[in-house]
Symmetry: D2
Subunit: 256 residues, 4 copies
């Protein structure tokens, strides 16, 4: 039975690339997303064509018991060794007035409550087997709140603190929690591409030097995700940042 | 008509002391708490006996429209110049297993959603009058997550990022948002005292040098809260910490 | 004998304004700067004309024993209760190539070693009298390093950590160390004005809304410096930021 | 001609292990330390016995021109692709009174000025070849100052800000600067072992679960150092932490 890497939020960007990377190393990749069963199946097919093992799971992560049921189902495929929690909650910039209570609650349910529920479901299983990895994709909004980011920043700020409380409780019990601050635009047509629209997304890619590497490339990011899951327990990383060489770090301003 | 200082979370600790301090300077103190109408009335009476103006308001902040209705009602007393959001969400240390979904959601509703709802209700009124102050009592859990603090830290971490997004959107429009990190035990029988129980609370006070100043004294903290609301807009503080001289800062460890 | 407030770095901006503020409250203001004895005397005269007590001291803070000798001399005027360490080390943006070893060393000597030497000289005296305040003006460069700030950021980053080690060792012994992050342009002709030149400085003031309050006004900042020195030891602030309402916080980016 | 990995501070701990790791992947490891030529030669020999390429260089990094001369000499062996700046400046806990000006200056010269000088010497060479990696071993003291750490924390805090200014200036020009926060005790007899003495060091190892992995194992840390140097420029990490699973993160306190 293969070790499982469970990906919550597996589109054509980070999630899919990480699933692919783990599958290449012999893991079963359990890929989950909310919609687009065809796109999901395409990801599974690609992994299988390259000789890997994968399965696709549609789920609405904010529904009661959805994550808990998923964990139970995936454990039948194999023991979950690594989980990537990759749900975002970015809805673009909205003023306080136009950010609704519903926006605010949904952001929290996706980005913060979802991680809490997942952790409650999967960490005890990992602990009973001696260890496991919980990789959490995060965003700049987890460390600073910009204008227009009321919903997103509040959700991600909560998520970051939750990663710390999980680490504080479980590191010594063999669970490696890693909080990965993605501090830049990702070259992901499914997420950033949809948010910006095709024209603006392509303009951004061109402005950053064409389709080469001015945006964060998911296949390259996946190398670091995989490395984190392989770190020896004597030398674990809890938090790191990722950005393209062309990007300003969030703490820097343009110097004129 | 007096300027109003509205206190959300007015017990015998920080909230009551801040209300008292503002009332001494000529503000009407609108004091709100969830229960104990007698205790609330006692706070109001004390302010009035000293020649100040105050009113008491019972509200359950997590109920739909409670905060919004409160703001409307208090505005009839006078224009809200300063709000102190002083709701905590500390429930003591609980393991992941014993932290329920309900705990986690309630913590967020109190500490994070409550601030968002309050901001939506009151900031536009302040802005229409050219300015105002939103003071937010916060905790160490807003900047680091300790074991057992899953609910509290996730809620406060979200709150801190929300304070930053509010500041980023509204500072230039005259609204001063201040995030006050209370990094130590407060000498407050209503909150810490109740959580610890009388015996343990008194033992802590004795260990810190009796009833003088080893814990954070709410009347002394209130001086800084009041100062923040008086800062000129050319020199605003967004974030500061408060602790007793006997306390280790959260980032320090005992040196042996 | 009056309590002394000793200002290291007293120009027409923060240093002079803080001296003035303390003198109004009955302190003797001992004002120190490197050069321009006439300007220094003018500050002293102004304080005395308003009924306060002040003295002027020229010193080159990076010379061996200069700070130590100063402390001894000023203690003869009265007991030093509060020190403001207000030396900057900003030399504008320089590339790595054009930042010399001499620049780098001088920045450190002013901003970091100077504070260490001062602390060694003055803190034991304060401690022997039961307490005192060490206020340290700091800059955004203490918390993040921008391009071109090699010398300044390295010096200020060291200074911030030194403030923390001093606080960790001395808070419980009655010494209040406060690290004040000035996160914006100060309306100070002596420092920013000289660095930018008169034309560019006036243009900046106009762009921020004329001479009213778009830049940090030193007289208003002085209110917060004074407040910090008056905080009761049960509720001390170790770190806070100051910026004008028109300024973006250092962690925010313009949203387009 | 092999690509060179230059290690400044190559003892039997992190430095030697990183050199070994890079040598295994085909780099020439240029190993530098201040003293113990025999120990240095033993490191070189071990690498060569395993089929790798290495050279040993004794240098006193705080001497004028020592680092600059070293860079010139090593470039004759091959182009420097990666530098590990691994000089520490920990001298144990000392009170303010017993920390001398000489301690304070030496700490800065080692930990902060040394990096500045190295960067000035090596980065232009890397840039002329299109890129390179500057890996900087750092310590908890770079992000918080504990009591007794005046010299160490001031030096490391400056170092961290310098890493940020270097990154801000050079990332877009192909230079990857990584600041690695080693937040725990390293199983290194040459450094921690010497500081604690053999008896106390062995007691610490036993308390952490014997010689297995309760302390940070340098050979395991080296995996992450190597990974950082291999990250694609579209997904670079600037800062990460490393600690053993048994260690509390610096921001956590024991929960009782």
């Amino acid at each position: 039975m293969k070790k499982v890497c469970l990906i919550i939020g597996a589109g054509a960007g980070i999630g899919g690339s990480v699933g692919n990377r783990f599958a290449k190393e012999g893991y079963h990749a359990a890929l989950c997303r909310r919609s687009d069963g065809n796109g999901l199946q395409a990801l599974v097919n690609r992994i299988e064509e390259e000789g890997g093992s994968a399965s696709g799971h549609l789920l609405n992560a904010v529904e009661d018991n959805a994550l808990e049921t998923l964990v139970t189902a995936v454990e039948k495929i194999g023991p979950i060794d690594t989980v990537l929690f990759n749900l975002g909650a970015q809805i673009g910039n909205r003023s306080l007035e136009t950010t609704t209570l519903k926006n605010f609650e949904l952001g929290w349910k996706m980005a913060c409550l979802g991680l809490f529920r997942l952790a409650k479901a999967v960490i005890p299983l990992m602990e009973s087997r001696g260890g496991g990895n919980l990789l959490v994709t995060s965003a700049t909004a987890a460390v600073r709140g910009n204008a227009g980011q009321h919903s997103h920043a509040a959700a991600m700020g909560g998520r970051r603190m939750l990663c710390q409380t999980l680490n504080a409780e479980y590191a010594s019990r063999g669970i490696h929690v890693a909080h990965i601050i993605v501090d830049g635009a990702v070259d992901a047509p499914d997420t950033l591409g949809k948010m910006l629209g095709e024209t603006q997304f392509n303009a951004l890619r061109q402005a950053r030097g064409g389709d080469k590497d001015g945006l964060l490339l998911p296949t390259k990011m996946a190398e670091t995700y995989f490395h984190l899951a392989q770190q020896h327990r004597s030398a674990w990383t809890h938090e790191l940042d990722l950005r393209s060489y062309t990007d300003l770090a969030w703490w820097n301003h343009e110097v004129h």
